[in-house]
């Protein structure tokens, strides 16, 4: 029992004064605790908003930098890599995969090459794969 209850322990008669003190103290403390949390969360929200704004700004400046990089790309990709594309795969798919790889190359700074594109063999469904991973995961 804490200090507050030990102070009240002497008087446990359910008289008006005691009941009123429980109700008023109770409501006040509950509101006080939660108001403090409201203030903390509000301040936290402000910090978060400022952080988001900063991130957006830096992302925007990165984008501007990227434009200059874009201009330089043709020079970087002078080494020609002709991927071995399996018959039946459409040109659009090859273009999408190539674009994705160029994008990743730009971000990581590594020169990635697309060597071949093949149709994947039929595999487990997502559910079966998830089940397998779950069952074989070490403790």
């Amino acid at each position: 029992m804490n200090l507050l209850s030990s102070l009240l322990a002497e008087d446990v008669d359910m008289n008006f004064e005691y009941v009123a003190s429980v109700v008023i103290t109770g409501l006040t403390v509950v509101f006080l605790c939660l108001i403090i949390l409201v203030i903390i969360l509000f301040l936290f929200g402000l910090v978060s908003k400022a952080q988001r704004r900063y991130n957006e700004k830096s992302a925007e400046s990165n984008r501007t930098e990227k434009t200059t990089v874009d201009i330089a790309i043709p020079k970087v990709q002078e080494v020609k890599t002709v991927p071995d594309v399996e018959d039946g795969i459409e040109e659009e798919i090859v273009a999408v995969i190539t674009a994705a790889i160029v994008q990743v190359s730009e971000k990581s700074g590594k020169r990635l090459a697309l060597k071949s594109i093949k149709t994947a063999k039929p595999q487990r469904t997502a559910w079966a794969a998830a089940g397998l991973i779950d069952n074989t995961r070490p403790f």
Partner: protein
């Protein structure tokens, strides 16, 4: 030889459970078994909080079958040195052993761990004002305390009954098991748990008339703005901040709030998948079974078939109604202050009962405006209600001597 045969049959008859029903006060056990059947029916056929109501009802059945010796109320009587747990371990039945988790206040915080691992506090973080609605709905607890005092209950009993208004089963069990731990009371933890879970199941029936009665059609039709996105960092810092603030202000609330927030931190950290899975599923389910059956076991005939239980039932429903009304009225106040940006219906979700109370707000709101989606807005006060009721529990435990 025939005499011996008849004697054996007589002995068997005397020691059988049927003889227990004929014995003094045995009829009360029959009533309790009947009540357990009603609860089983409500859980199975009507889907009223079946995960807890069914184990509670079965515990009630087991404890009221004469001579089963699974639960011994006499072992839980307080002596000069408190409860003799050694005696409970040596002489107790299965349900006595399981009941130790309730008496030692182990199960409710562990259930809170699971709840924390399942709760998304993002709507509350995005709209911190929701905390105020969660606080307002706790008014039901404290106003019911007045009613219990007027009906002649002692401070510990009144506090135990009042906490039903928090609409949070584990909190009600935690508070009542502590406040009533000294024994000699007219009610017990089982009575409180039974009333709390019954009313929690009845939230969709109890709340809508109050919500409609206290709001205008125009207020119920208010469409609230979209909530801001919440970052992962905020979600991780939230449980740590709440634990520190609440535990420093109301230390008695620390076991409940601390475990709730630990569960949430495990979830939001994203690095404890296995622990989160256990807290959400296996641990939660095991504790739910233990809690339900052992609480049900305490509902012996002499604790239920009396006028005090009727008082608990009446005050319990009053607590729920008052909590809902306080939340809605505070919602109206916020609506007024924000010039119509807050739909007062989300205030009723401030009583815990996650997520049922939020669903009720959504449903009542959609009755007025089918394109209005209040669910995420109502989840804010709803999860704030869980924290609020834990704080209220801590306050009751601090103020009321036990």
């Amino acid at each position: 030889m025939i005499d011996k045969f008849i004697d054996t049959l007589r002995d068997l008859a005397v020691t059988s459970g049927f003889a227990g029903f004929i014995a003094d006060g045995g009829w009360k056990s029959l009533i309790m078994i009947g009540i357990s059947f009603v609860f089983m029916y409500l859980a199975v056929s009507k889907g009223f909080e079946p995960l807890l109501l069914l184990p509670i009802a079965f515990g009630m059945l087991l404890t009221n079958l004469p001579f089963t010796e699974m639960y011994h109320p006499e072992l839980w009587k307080i002596t000069g040195e408190g409860i003799d747990f050694g005696k409970v371990l040596h002489e107790g039945g299965l349900l006595d052993i399981l009941y130790m988790g309730v008496k030692l206040q182990i199960y409710p915080p562990l259930i809170f761990l699971g709840i924390g691992a399942m709760t998304d506090f993002a709507p509350l973080i995005a709209n911190p004002k929701s905390f105020l609605l969660g606080a307002a709905a706790q008014g039901g607890i404290f106003f019911t305390f007045i009613g219990a005092a007027l009906l002649g209950f002692s401070a510990a009993e009144a506090g135990s009954i009042a906490i039903i208004g928090g609409a949070d089963g584990p909190t009600a069990i935690y508070v009542s098991s502590k406040l009533l731990s000294s024994g000699g009371f007219k009610i017990d933890t089982g009575t409180i748990a039974l009333a709390a879970y019954t009313y929690m199941a009845l939230v969709p029936i109890i709340q809508p008339p109050i919500m409609k009665g206290l709001t205008t059609k125009k207020e119920r039709s208010i469409v609230m703005g979209q909530l801001r996105p919440v970052s992962k960092t905020e979600k991780i810092i939230f449980p740590i901040a709440v634990t520190i603030v609440i535990s420093l202000l109301v230390p008695s609330a620390a076991p409940l709030v601390g475990m709730l927030m630990l569960g949430n931190l495990l979830k939001e950290s994203g690095v404890c998948d296995r622990l989160v899975k256990t807290a959400q599923n296996e641990l939660m389910n095991i504790i739910t079974i233990f809690l339900g059956i052992s609480v049900g076991a305490t509902t012996t005939a002499d604790k239920i078939v009396n006028k005090e239980f009727l008082g608990v039932i009446l005050l319990g429903v009053a607590a729920f109604c008052l909590g809902t009304a306080c939340g809605v009225l505070f919602g109206k106040l916020m609506c007024l202050i924000t010039k119509g940006k807050v739909n007062p219906l989300i205030g009723s979700a401030g009583v815990s009962a996650v997520p049922m109370a939020a669903r009720v707000s959504q449903k009542v709101g959609q009755q007025e405006n089918p394109t209005n989606y209040l669910l995420m807005h109502a989840m804010g006060p709803n999860v704030a209600g869980v924290i609020g009721s834990a704080v209220a529990a801590g306050v009751l435990l601090s103020i009321i001597p036990y």
